[in-house]
Subunit: 483 residues, 3 copies
């Protein structure tokens, strides 16, 4: 099995100061996944046991890793940060396999084949140390440079390099594979830099070169090895990942509107024949079936949509389950623990939370349904509110099959409205409604004839009075100021 | 008249299997127009009578074409699909003009001048067969290659080509103009490919070349002849078309926000001085007047906006008519058959359907107006619902000029509220309201003094009881499980 | 002090006819700032007193400048427009400093250092006239060309140039620094063009050259000197500016979603650690604190958000103040003069205007709060409407601390609801509510048993009757038509 002669050290102790956010960059997400997990997932897929060197915001990073890998990853704390050489030295008593793979924790786009190629070449050539390089075209950057003259090879860190910074050069990507013996022998030979007072891991290359040991390099495209040192690089990396994901789903039969406005995350599924509108977000944990239509600006988060679901524009679906043929939105907000059954319809300005809406039922306008269980073929009138909260506890509304709830109803939970019943428009329902009954709670309308003009006159008089009293008050104030 | 010596055969029988959507690609839209219509519109503009060879999803494609061209296009069914040569052979008894133009149905970006140039050169040089070529830079593709050695010329289909696939080459675009006599003589001479068991139409070129007949080629930019074989190519074609449309309207005096987030369709109008915000969609059939402002994320679909209309962000207007000076949104949803008159205002979280809102009238907050005719200078209070549906039929609400509808009203149709009348806040209006009357239907407020703390205590007690009974029930369950 | 020997003339009289909008281009905004202000701000920063030559839409432009610079800028009206030479001649009696800086008003991307470099070189070399050039790669454009043969130098206006238009060339950017004496001596020597009947300011270069005077040029990148002559160029300039702003805030620790869908304006602040979602707009006058999260498609306009504010998707905040830890949206609309206090929550489909919402208070669903002062820890039930408008005047609602407003309440202002009180769901509150009271205004519910089926039968009968009468009416009509 690949990986069995290797173990990995991931360097993740840095302060991310160039991010300027006050947070470790390793907890920032790329397409919904925290940056540090790109490294740990890669190593886990390759069956390489991993030790992470942590420092800044150790607890937060550790929690993320443990949540994903359930304790399969080891942690070492680098108390003080004296450079990459020092970080690796801290892990010394964890070294128990033949080859030690060392990589930075901020390289989310590294692919398996880079590691596999590195390992193969390292073994084939029986190298003391092997590392990944890339070709970098101009522009000032923060990578170490690989300087090779045919006989010797070394890496000069960016901070120590004083030559022409913008010329094309070979850079050190930050992935090393080192024979344990060589690492043990040489890790303590690294000398502190006079410029930065740091110990550079990259000095190992010169040490090996000076001893005439074999050194291998593997070249990789820059886009795959780019390190993330500031928010612009994070943004660039997310662009790369997002474009990859969109291309992947296009190839699986998913149509996109203006693709470069769509946000997809990792850990989603989209069925063939589905169509994703402009500015849609599909966040992790979502499973979208075949022939669904998700229209523009909708957000699907950790939710399941069966097939043939229609999501109209500007809808949000969180942690819910939408059955086949249902129609949602526009402007609908489906919140946690909601189940919308087959062919049911949730319309505009409707919020649904912790509720089951039965098959064929409709809640099409300006409603709030919370803590409710609603049967089949129920019609919820426009403006209906389930009052599930009394300031202390949440209570349940049950509406059975074929009920017709009139418009602007206020349904005070706990309450049961039995099948085939009606409620009159404008009612406040506080008591259970029996099967087939009509529940009504409203006052008879009175038309006060000719009252309109009087009312208007009264309001106008009040308005005049108010204005006059304001003016009077202002005059008083002015007078008193003048005194 | 151009076109009178030509007839066209459009090849549209394929299965679109690389789309992976289960649908024929020809029904997919590009800027609102189905792909097949790009070809048929082009040929119709050039007065070239057209026969379409259909196979997969024949009915759907035929319906789209007939809806547009009203029966002016002929159809031939290719029962089984044995390649392009076979498809053309199927149309044999339709050939009645001097020159037969043959093109693929999946080339939406072809412009008139390509066809005109092809025809001119074909006639001038008295060619047996003429075809369109393009220059293709590298990358693996699915086009046939044009191989010419000065003496002979032939097209090698991608599937038959075994050379270096990534080098720059001349490709066959898929548009041919053939003399009827030559086509009749040679269509049955095409031999079945051993590799694919298909008859390639492109073999005609070699046949003509072998007979020493004249063959013309016309070169066109790749962007104009690109065929659409998968969803990525569809996306690329739509990008090209969309950018063209945006440029066109910019030149006509329309300002765009972040233009690359805007979706425009064909068959729209936008007046000069209008401004289109970020992520706006303007769909086919829309006519927008001068100096309108459509703010971000709004969607205008098959609707007419006169001049000086203001559409605030996140509004949707479908199949409706908005008069000069009206203001819509934000978060408004104007649905089918709505007319908003001059200076009227529809505000946030308001849905209007099948309704006339008179000039100067306002419905600014959280309302649903359906099947209503509303006069001038009417004020619709926040939270008003017209109850137009009783579970069986839809009924009409009539609100005359200068009416003031109080907040949170429930207006049960059919009902007429006459001019200059008022309705009190919180009322349910079930009966007609006479002119100048005040309609009121509400219960007098009672303040139960000191009742608040009791109520809270009661709710808290219930909450405690519920929790206790849950715990008790859980214990019982646990006990019974242990047994 | 830089600027003390200079004065500036800005040419801003043109008709902007290529914009096709009917408006002067100088009032169009770029990232929220009117185009003309980019020039006036630049000159004001450099302490150069400025005279603007106005013509078309003089009043609108003057108003914008005065609003910003409070009368510190002079205006000259160019009555008729006879070219740039004529425009400058109109300002003749304003010339009172040693060097006259002349620039076009439609160059929003010019940076300070260009002006500083131009001045330095002009002074060092004791030039009669100095001007800014740029290198332009091909494409037909509207810039004058700089023609230099080692001995003489001149600028040929685009309209007078008849050579190969698409070759690479040096263009005249439109920024000149001229010695007052030279300007005075030569401004009237410019001859009218036979082609356009205009006086070209650029002829000054040839005049100086012919007299053997020193002429300096300073080269600048095209992106910084691009003039804006049509809506596409405006769009390109705004893209450049917007990208600059996003880069700036990224460097300050702000994370962006899909950055190329975000609209930022000038005159904003965003604190480090904040995150800005896709398609968000942050408009001028906004100040966003640390660690805020503004989710996708939200719009912040001239508002202050303290730290740790959460804005859920699709929310709009205008001219308001949001305190630390508050949560807004999704689908919330916070309008002018609103203050949301610490930890308060405004939820979905809620509009708040001219209102204070106290700390820890919640209005989470489908509500309208206007002209209200709401205390701490208040719960506003779903569907609550404050009725602040009676058709004539606006009135105030006061809700004190710890009040619980039931769902679907209609609160008719002016009204005071005192602390610790409750209102029952579905109530219309028209009178003040004392401390700790329960206010209730609703009718007891009646359940009419077995009434449901009767009601349905009745509705169905009416529906049948209506249809029959339609059919009968249609038949009558048809019969009468046949007569």
């Amino acid at each position: 099995m690949f990986g069995q002669k290797m173990q990995a050290i991931v360097l993740a102790a840095g302060k991310s100061s160039r991010f300027q956010t006050g947070k470790s960059k390793l907890v920032e997400t790329i397409c919904g996944q925290e940056m540090i997990l790109f490294s740990t997932n890669l190593l886990s897929t390759l069956n390489i046991p991993t030790t992470i060197v942590l420092g800044y915001q150790k607890e937060q990073i550790q929690e993320i890793i443990n949540k994903k890998h359930g304790g399969a990853v080891n942690f070492i704390k680098q108390q003080e940060q004296h450079g990459t050489g020092h970080a690796v030295a801290c892990t010394q008593n964890k070294w128990d396999r033949e080859h030690i793979l060392i990589m930075n924790g901020d390289m989310p786009l590294v692919r398996q084949d880079i590691i596999i190629d590195l390992y193969k070449k390292h073994i084939e050539q029986d190298a003391a140390i092997s590392f990944v390089t890339s070709c970098c075209t101009g522009s000032n950057h923060s990578y170490g440079r690989v300087i090779e003259d045919g006989k010797t090879i070394e890496i000069i860190e960016a901070k120590e390099f004083h030559g022409q910074k913008t010329e094309v050069c070979i850079i050190n990507a930050g992935i090393y594979l080192v024979k344990k013996e060589f690492l043990q022998d040489s890790i303590n030979e690294i000398e502190k830099s006079e410029t930065t007072k740091e110990f550079y891991l990259t000095d190992l290359v010169k040490i090996a070169s000076d001893q005439g040991l074999t050194i291998c390099t593997v070249n990789a495209p820059f886009d795959q090895i780019r390190g993330i040192n500031n928010l612009q690089e994070l943004w660039a990396a997310e662009q790369v990942k997002r474009a990859e994901l969109i291309k992947h789903w296009m190839e699986k039969g998913v149509r996109f509107g203006i693709a470069h406005t769509v946000h997809l995350e990792l850990d989603i599924e989209i069925g063939p024949g589905s169509s994703i509108g402009c500015s849609v977000h599909i966040n992790k944990g979502s499973r979208i079936g075949k022939n669904c239509i998700i229209q523009q600006n909708s957000i699907i988060e950790n939710s399941i949509l069966e097939s043939n679901v229609m999501v109209h524009p500007n809808s949000i679906i969180n942690n819910s389950y939408i059955s086949s043929g249902a129609s949602i939105g526009p402007f609908a907000y489906i919140r946690e623990n909601t189940i919308i059954k087959e062919q049911a319809q949730v319309g505009n300005f409707v919020e649904v939370k912790n509720t089951i809406l039965g098959s064929g039922s409709k809640a099409k306008h300006l409603s709030y349904l919370g803590n409710a269980t609603i049967g089949k073929n129920v019609n919820i009138g426009a403006g209906t509110i389930t009052c599930n909260f009394n300031g202390v506890s949440k209570n349940k509304t049950i509406i059975e099959d074929n009920v017709f709830i009139g418009s602007n109803n206020t349904i005070v939970a706990p309450v049961i409205i039995q099948e085939d019943s009606f409620t009159a428009a404008g009612s406040t329902i506080t008591e259970n409604v029996p099967k087939e009954a009509l529940a009504i709670s409203r006052t008879r309308q009175i038309n006060k004839e000719n009252y309109g003009p009087k009312l208007k006159k009264r309001y106008e008089q009040t308005e005049r009075d108010t204005k006059e009293s304001f003016i009077a008050a202002a005059k008083v104030k002015e007078a008193s100021t003048e005194l």
